[in-house]
């Protein structure tokens, strides 16, 4: 059996998105800035894609800027707000401890420039509250940036409420909605969102393309200088096929959102229930306020990379927040932010589902994970010590 359960990392492209892109590679390959027919046709496709994105986000097409993905959109949103803020002498930014590195590393860079950053603590259930945001806002705060849904533990933040708090205080509000877009309803007006990042490859679109929504009137700072593309806010010939594919995938995901969410929630709950039966395991993130397809567990006494390799051997693609898989010496900052200690954060497993997964696959994942965890525990000196009472369990 081959099971892809790493949809938070990236997704398989939808047939409709692929089909939408092909004509823009084979036939309408003109440069949208050219005035002959195939150039202008490409320009029209671009504007039509912008229209589609805007409709589903409830904004105006001119408020959509196409980027190379979520990371670029995050960088540009944050840097723009910082530049606007510093002009008014406002150099304080509020965010959370469990943002994606595209946000955290951009904030680090601003800190080196003299900005002050407040990272809100995340509650053990993986949520921050509007109250926390409210209390952190100062007269010199120029930006609040809080992710819509977390990429590791899938927890969904109260974005609308946080938006209201920011609007009331007159502070710009950005949300990294890379994991939410196409999966959860978004209405930038109703939710008082000033800037929002999304990325096509997380909702069955192509990789290397995304969008930044910025409310009219927010002057964006360029990351890429060049031609007059994107109204001068991003130089470079537009990725026309990619953008067309993103719009097609977004429209499709939004149209099927409710139905997909219902199906995924059932699969997710089946998976959570099954994995909870593994002794000394714990779910990371709130039980219900999480993305419909996200499951994240810690298993005591084992390490995540070896777990992933054995799952891969059994045909299951998943991910982990262990240090060995993060490429650093520390395990996932997200798991540490919700209070998981290093010892067990190394033994984490994220399974992120899509509408292609089936109940049989979930049953197979539950069974296989149980077997692999058991196998690894049998060769783990930590597990032996736990069993012999020489070490105490972190997860009861």
């Amino acid at each position: 059996m081959k099971i892809y359960a790493d949809n938070a990392a990236t997704t398989k492209m939808s047939r409709r998105a692929i089909d939408a892109m092909i004509p823009y590679m084979e036939k309408v390959y003109g440069n949208p800035s050219s005035l002959y027919t195939i150039g202008q046709e490409a320009a029209e496709a671009l504007e039509s894609a912008r229209q589609t994105m805007a409709e589903h986000l409830h904004c105006m097409p001119r408020e959509i800027l196409f980027t190379s993905g979520g990371s670029e959109a995050d960088n540009q949103a944050i840097l723009s707000a910082a530049r606007l803020g510093e002009k008014k002498g406002k150099k304080h930014i509020i965010s959370t401890a469990f943002e994606h590195h595209a946000v955290l590393h951009t904030l680090n860079r601003l800190e080196k420039e003299g900005f002050e950053v407040t990272l809100l603590d995340v509650h053990e259930n993986g949520l921050v509250t509007p109250q926390q945001v409210k209390e952190a806002i100062r007269p010199d705060t120029c930006l609040v940036t809080v992710m819509y849904a977390n990429n590791e533990i899938g927890t969904i933040q109260p974005i609308g409420e946080i938006g209201s708090v920011c609007r009331e205080a007159g502070v710009l509000f950005h949300t990294d909605a890379v994991q939410a877009a196409g999966h959860l309803p978004i209405d930038v007006q109703a939710q008082n969102i000033d800037m929002l990042s999304l990325s096509a490859h997380k909702f069955h679109g192509p990789k290397g393309v995304g969008a930044l929504y910025a409310k009219q009137g927010i002057r964006l700072t360029n990351l890429i200088e060049g031609g007059a593309q994107e109204r001068g806010r991003r130089g470079g010939t537009e990725n026309v096929p990619g953008i067309v594919g993103m719009a097609a995938a977004f429209a499709e995901s939004c149209a099927n959102m409710e139905e997909t969410a219902k199906k995924l929630t059932a699969l997710r709950d089946q998976l959570i229930e099954g994995l909870s039966k593994i002794p000394h395991s714990i779910l990371n993130g709130d039980r219900t306020k999480r993305l419909p397809g996200n499951v994240n567990f810690c298993f005591e006494g084992i390490e995540g990379e070896s777990l992933l390799l054995l799952l891969d051997d059994a045909g299951i693609s998943a991910s982990s927040g262990s240090a060995c898989t993060s490429g650093s010496l520390d395990p996932s900052h997200v798991l540490l932010a919700i209070g998981r200690i290093h010892d067990i954060a190394h033994g984490s497993l994220r399974l992120s589902l899509s509408e292609e997964n089936t109940e049989e696959e979930i049953a197979y994942i539950i069974q296989t994970t149980g077997e692999v965890v058991d196998y690894l525990r049998k060769m783990s000196p930590v597990w032996r010590d736990l069993q012999e009472g020489k070490r105490s369990y972190v997860i009861q």
């Binding site: 070896s306 262990s322 060995c324 010496l329 290093h342 000196p381 032996r384």
Partner: protein, 141 residues
């Protein structure tokens, strides 16, 4: 692929996993905070490693390094085992990715600690310079 076929083979079919009851020497390195712990058990007869077992909590290369290292010292005189280097373990595995080399260091040090344990338990004099001191590993710092 991240790992060589040899690493994957030793990871998926690890040799010498387990414990030796009443082992003559036990060595352990690493800690759970860092995400890897290796424990080596030795049975020693006439200064020869007649049996060796390991238990490892760690990533694929940690398990593969333990497996390979134990294979390399099994049946060998203690003095040969003391000469086993992490480089030799990594080479026998057809190489490890650069950021995984510390796994082979753990294997070398776990074996040395097990031998040290044997010397200490039996009051056998030994050359201190042959053994790692615990502060030498920078992995966690």
């Amino acid at each position: 692929m991240l790992y060589s076929e040899k690493v994957m083979d030793h990871f998926k079919n690890p040799r010498n996993v387990g414990v030796i009851e009443n082992a003559d020497g036990i060595g352990e390195v690493g800690n759970a905070k860092c995400g890897d712990i290796m424990r080596i058990y030795l049975k020693i007869d006439n200064e020869i490693i007649s049996d060796v077992k390991f238990e490892t909590f760690g990533c694929g290369s940690a398990i593969a390094s333990s497996s390979m290292a134990t294979e390399m010292i099994k049946g060998k005189p203690l003095k040969d085992a003391l000469e086993l280097t992490n480089k030799a373990v990594a080479e026998a595995l057809d190489g490890l990715p650069a950021h995984k080399m510390h796994c082979s260091v753990l294997a070398e040090e776990a074996i040395k600690n097990a031998i040290l344990d044997y010397y200490k338990k039996n009051g056998i004099p030994y050359d201190h310079s042959q053994f790692p001191d615990c502060d030498s590993c920078q992995h966690c710092n």
